[in-house]
């Protein structure tokens, strides 16, 4: 029987077939979380024994050390695989390693994706824009903070804040901001850091939206070693800064609480309605503790109105002028 010459498969045709077979394959939404889950588990394995005491000293909390040393992290001879991370991710969102290291964590905010055993403080950010450095321990170590667009960099509303400490691993926090096309030329912008909560650590402020006259800033904070996006009423923080002739807003961190204020036209032509809300820093949440509202009679030039606009918080200033 004569089979004849083998049929020629053109390379271009094969490339088309291969591409067609996997074109629809996409990443699961939780793929990055699962990768980090695997990283966390392995780190816990490495550190569970020898570092338990170190963690206790660094964190200043016996509960943390007990959690690690008592086997709440993974045990056994081998590090768990990505398959194990995947399986666990489908069961529940609370990895053992996170529980161990994050015993004092609060509930709100986007997931933090890496571990920082021990107490970490943030001191300075040295530049604004899409990346900067962030000292994490008041001494010599600094972290690089970068904003990475997810998907098409021009049009995406999804971004990652990547904090890469030199020693403590990479932390990644997802957040939403106006796209680069809508907020040219930079999209979200790192405004700076300030010790807004007056606890010796500094918060990172990022501009996530900007109109003609008003910017909106969000806040990231280190909570139990994890970088988290602050929330208000369960939603990511959006602090209005600046305003137009007839309305304005801003915030102050001069007092113990974060004061968020603003004004808008009142019921009559010569009045403005001004509000001042005080928020307490509770972990990754800003909790409303007081609300004041007052009517100011006057014109837009009234100096009283100026008290309800702008930023008064360390060296922070609106990013708009820099763009």
């Amino acid at each position: 029987m004569n089979h004849g010459p083998a049929p020629q498969l053109r390379p271009e045709r094969l490339a088309e077939l291969l591409d067609g077979a996997v074109r629809h394959v996409t990443a699961r939404p939780d793929a990055l979380d699962r990768i980090h889950s695997g990283v966390r588990r392995r780190r816990a394995v490495h550190r569970a024994g020898a570092l338990a005491l170190t963690v206790a000293v660094l964190a200043g909390g016996a509960a943390t050390a007990l959690a690690v040393a008592s086997g709440r992290g993974p045990s056994g001879p081998g590090a768990p695989t990505a398959a194990a991370a995947r399986q666990r991710a489908t069961v529940g969102p609370t990895p053992a390693a996170t529980m161990a290291y994050d015993a004092g964590a609060y509930n709100a905010g986007a997931p933090a994706l890496a571990l920082a055993p021990g107490s970490v403080a943030v001191t300075t950010v040295t530049q604004s824009g899409r990346s900067g450095t962030w000292d994490i321990d008041q001494a010599t170590r600094s972290a690089t903070v970068t904003i990475v667009p997810v998907g098409d960099p021009e049009t995406t509303f999804s971004f990652l804040l990547v904090v890469r400490p030199t020693r403590l691993g990479t932390q990644t926090v997802k957040f939403t901001a106006t796209s680069l096309l809508d907020m040219p030329p930079n999209g979200p912008v790192i405004v700076g850091v300030a010790d807004a909560a007056h606890d010796g650590r500094q918060e990172l402020f990022v501009q996530v939206d900007r109109g003609c006259c008003t910017e909106f800033w969000t806040v990231f904070r280190l909570v139990s070693g994890h970088v988290r996006q602050m929330t208000m009423s369960g939603q990511p923080v959006r602090l209005p800064v600046g305003g137009s002739v007839m309305a304005g807003g801003g915030f102050s961190c001069d007092g113990p609480d974060l004061a968020v204020y603003g004004y808008q036209p009142g019921n009559t032509a010569d009045t403005f309605l001004a509000t001042r809300d005080a928020y307490r820093w509770v972990g990754a949440a800003l909790v409303l503790v007081s609300h004041q509202q007052t009517t100011i009679r006057g014109t837009t030039a009234d100096p009283e109105l100026a008290k309800y606009s702008g930023v008064s918080c360390a060296n922070l200033s609106p990013a708009q002028g820099e763009l």
Partner: protein, 167 residues
């Protein structure tokens, strides 16, 4: 297919993930033929890179990832072979391992054909015609000579041609 790495982006693990996870996942699907195993492989590769980056910089994280994916795919196929040899014979009406979420991928003719050629031929063909890598890079990745890569590609193409025509 897999874009040239932007070195600045690759300095950043998240950028590495955003830029290359999906393409590496597709590469793994082509190498092992099913989605679930491919996901495990690529996640494992990223976990390894993450761990490595914590201790030392990587000259080319993307190349490291590709290498890890290829090696892990080989290990997965070896494990499968062992499982097949030692697994109890399934009942006649038992569902095959391919059933499930990834069945659609597994049933595609080209995926089926890829399974039926040699592992080295499959790697070479996929890396050449899907990942669009030069032969020298494929040789380095596979740990063989450029001549061997050419041979794998040539034989792989012929065999795939036969299989696809037959199907």
């Amino acid at each position: 297919m897999i874009e040239s790495p932007d070195q600045q982006d690759l300095d950043d693990f998240a950028a590495l993930y955003v830029g290359h996870y999906e393409q590496l996942l597709r590469l793994a699907v082509l190498l092992v033929g099913d989605l679930a195993a491919a996901e495990d492989i690529v996640q494992e590769a990223f976990i390894r890179v993450h761990r490595t980056l914590e201790s030392r910089p990587l000259h080319s994280p993307l190349a490291y990832l590709r290498q890890a994916v290829v090696n892990l795919a080989r290990s997965e196929l070896r494990r499968r072979l062992v499982r097949m040899r030692h697994a109890p014979r399934p009942m006649p009406d038992a569902a095959s391992a391919e059933e499930g979420a990834c069945a659609a991928i597994s049933r595609q003719e080209v995926i089926v054909a890829l399974r039926r050629i040699g592992a080295r031929q499959r790697e070479a063909v996929v890396l050449r015609y899907w990942a669009d890598l030069p032969e020298a890079e494929i040789a380095e990745l596979m740990g063989v000579s450029v001549g061997a890569v050419k041979g794998y590609i040539s034989r792989g193409l012929s065999r795939l041609g036969l299989l696809l025509e037959a199907s």
